[in-house]
C-alpha cells in the first residue's frame, strides 16, 4: 500500500519536486531526498530543536511535520546561510558569531541554533539577552551552557547592524574586488554550484 505523492519544496531559493510517502517527515525529506544533511535529527521527540528550519520565514521543528505539509512552502536550512546577501560570499554573521564566540563544541545543535537565531534577528535586529534566550528556548545544547551561544547571537546582531549601516553598495564591491572573479565564492566554481540560488542575483553580485 505504498502510496507516494509529488510535492514541491523551495529550499534556499531552489525549487525541488520530489515524491514522498505521506508518512515521510519533513526532516527526512530534506536529509534523504534532497541530500542536505546540515539539518540534524537529535531527539526524535520534538524537544531538542536540532531539526529547526525556517518555513515561510518561521522557525519550525522539521521532525514534527510531514513533508506533504510543506508542499508549496519556502524553506530555509543552514546550507542557505552563506548564500544570503549579508554573508557577502563568506560565512553569515551568525555563523561567524558562533565561530568567534565559541558558540559550539560538538556542533550538533548548531544548525538549529542558527535557524532560531536567524528567525529572531529577522524580526528583532537588536534583541536583549532575555529575548535571545527566549528565541533559542526550543533548542537544546548539551555542551556550552548557552552563554556562548547567546554571545554568538549578540555578535551577529552587532555585525548585521554594521553591515546594514555600511550598506550603500560600496563595501560589498570593495570587499570582493580582486579576490574573486565574480565576487561570490559559491557562485562560479565554489562549493555549492550544483544548486541554483536566486539570492546571488541581488546579493553578492551588487
Amino acid at each position: 500500500m505504498t502510496n507516494t505523492r509529488e510535492i514541491t519544496l523551495t529550499v534556499n531559493g531552489t525549487e525541488h519536486t520530489i515524491d514522498v510517502e505521506p508518512r515521510q517527515l519533513l526532516v527526512h525529506a530534506i536529509r534523504e531526498e534532497l541530500d542536505m544533511t546540515g539539518t540534524h535529527i537529535g531527539c526524535d521527540t520534538g524537544n531538542c530543536g536540532a531539526c529547526t528550519v525556517l518555513k515561510d520565514g518561521e522557525p519550525v521543528k522539521s521532525c514534527l511535520m510531514f513533508a506533504t505539509q510543506a508542499d508549496g512552502s519556502d524553506l530555509m536550512t543552514v546550507e542557505g546561510m552563506e548564500e544570503l546577501p549579508e554573508a557577502r560570499g563568506d560565512l553569515h554573521p551568525l555563523q561567524e558569531g558562533f565561530r568567534e564566540e565559541h558558540g559550539l563544541q560538538c556542533g550538533y545543535c548548531t544548525p538549529g541554533m542558527l535557524m532560531s537565531g536567524k528567525a529572531l534577528l529577522d524580526e528583532n535586529p537588536d534583541p536583549s539577552e532575555a529575548e535571545i534566550r527566549e528565541a533559542i528556548s526550543g533548542n537544546l545544547c548539551r555542551c556550552t551552557g548557552y552563554q556562548n551561544i547567546v554571545r554568538s547571537i549578540e555578535y551577529a546582531a552587532e555585525e548585521l547592524e554594521e553591515v546594514a549601516a555600511a550598506d550603500g553598495g560600496t563595501t560589498a564591491a570593495s570587499t570582493f574586488d580582486g579576490e574573486f572573479d565574480c565576487g561570490a565564492a559559491n557562485c562560479c566554481g565554489g562549493p555549492s554550484t550544483d544548486r541554483d540560488h536566486d539570492a546571488t542575483e541581488g546579493g553578492e553580485h551588487r
Binding site: M1, T2, N3, R5, E21, P22, R23, Q24, L25, H28, D44, T45, G46, N47, G49, T52, K55, E58, P59, V60, K61, C63, L64, M65, F66, T68, Q69, S116, A119, E134, A135, S137, G138
Partner: protein, 295 residues
C-alpha cells in the same frame, strides 16, 4: 522512529472533512501536529488514515465577532501570542500563549488542537474554563456548541463525537470591568505545567466581584474549575485576604498526584500561590490598583 504507513487526506473545507470522518473508520485528525506527530512516530497512534485539516483556510482566524473572541481551529499559539487584540483585552490568553512549549512549537501547534487533545497538563483548557467559554464542533448533522464545563471527560478524552470536527474555541468578549490572567509553574522553559491557574474576574459598578472563574492545570484528571474558590469570591470586594482564602480553597479542591517533579502537597501549595497571583493580576487588570499576594 518513522510512523506506520497511512493514507492521507487533505480536505479543503469543513464539510469535506466531516464527510471523510463519517465515511472512514480508522482515522485521526491532524492539525498542528505537535503532539500528534510524536504519537504517530512512537506508534502510540496507528491510524489507517490521517485527515490533515491544515489546508482548510476557513478555519484560520482569530477575531472578535458577535460578542465572542473566536479562535478558529487553525489559529496557532503564535497567532495568539502576537495578536494585538489579545494583548489589549484578554490577559489570560496573552499570559498563556508565550508559556506554551517553545517558539517553534508555537508556530505550528494550535489552540483548538491543544484543547481537543485534552491533556490535563495543557494550559488552554484552564483558560477556556475560567472564561466559561465554548467549543464549537461540526458534525454530520450540523454545528454543536459544547460549554467548556461539559467538554473534558478524562485525560485525552472529551465529549466530542467521533464524527465531529472541532472548528472553533470561543470565549465571551470582556465585560467593562473584567480582567483575567494565567500563572504557570514549570520545571524549565518549554515544559508542561507542574501546576497552573487561570483566573477571570468581572466586577460590578461598586467594585464587587460579580463573576469569578478559575481553571486549574495539571492537578486533576482533566483541566478543572475551582468552584469552591469561585463561590467564595463572588459578591465580595477584591483583597489580598480574600484571594488568600480563594487560593486555599482552590488548593483544597485540587487533586494533584505526586511525581518526579514534586509531591502532591507541594503541588497543592503551588495551586494556592498561583491562584492568588492569577487573581491579583486579574483584579488589577479589571481596573483595581491594589495587588498583593501573600504566600
Amino acid at each position: 522512529m518513522k510512523p506506520a504507513q497511512f493514507e492521507q487526506h487533505e480536505p479543503k473545507t469543513v464539510e469535506e472533512a466531516v464527510s471523510l470522518l463519517e465515511s472512514l473508520d480508522d482515522r485521526a485528525i491532524l492539525s498542528g501536529g505537535q503532539s500528534m506527530v510524536p504519537m504517530l512516530r512512537f506508534r502510540l497512534a496507528v491510524p489507517e488514515t490521517i485527515i490533515d485539516i491544515n489546508r482548510i483556510e476557513s478555519l484560520d482566524y482569530l477575531e472578535e465577532d458577535d460578542g465572542w473572541l473566536k479562535i478558529g481551529a487553525l489559529a496557532r499559539h503564535a497567532d495568539v501570542e502576537h495578536s494585538k487584540l489579545v494583548a489589549e483585552n484578554y490577559g489570560s490568553f496573552a499570559d498563556t500563549a508565550p508559556l506554551v512549549a517553545d517558539p517553534q512549537i508555537r508556530n505550528r501547534g494550535t489552540v483548538a488542537g491543544s484543547i481537543a487533545q485534552a491533556d490535563p497538563k495543557g494550559d488552554w483548557g484552564s483558560v477556556l474554563l475560567a472564561h466559561e467559554g465554548e467549543v464549537v464542533a461540526q458534525g454530520p448533522d450540523g454545528e454543536r456548541v459544547i460549554p467548556a464545563d461539559e467538554f473534558f471527560l478524562l485525560p485525552y478524552d472529551t465529549t466530542l463525537d467521533e464524527n465531529e470536527l472541532l472548528t472553533e474555541i470561543r470565549v465571551p468578549t470582556p465585560a467593562p470591568r473584567e480582567g483575567s490572567a494565567y500563572h504557570k509553574l514549570k520545571r524549565k522553559v518549554g515544559d508542561y505545567a507542574m501546576a497552573g491557574s487561570a483566573a477571570r474576574l468581572v466586577l460590578d459598578d461598586e467594585g464587587r466581584i460579580e463573576q469569578a472563574g478559575i481553571g486549574l492545570t495539571a492537578v486533576d484528571i482533566t483541566n478543572v474549575r475551582a468552584t469552591d474558590a469561585e463561590e467564595h469570591l463572588e459578591g465580595e470586594r477584591p483583597s489580598s485576604e480574600l484571594f488568600k482564602r480563594a487560593g486555599e480553597l482552590a488548593a483544597e479542591q485540587s487533586n494533584p498526584e505526586s511525581d518526579e517533579h514534586g509531591d502532591a502537597g507541594y503541588k497543592e501549595r503551588m495551586v494556592n500561590v498561583l491562584t492568588q497571583r492569577a487573581l491579583g493580576d486579574a483584579a488589577e487588570r479589571a481596573g483595581l490598583v491594589k495587588r498583593r499576594v501573600s504566600q
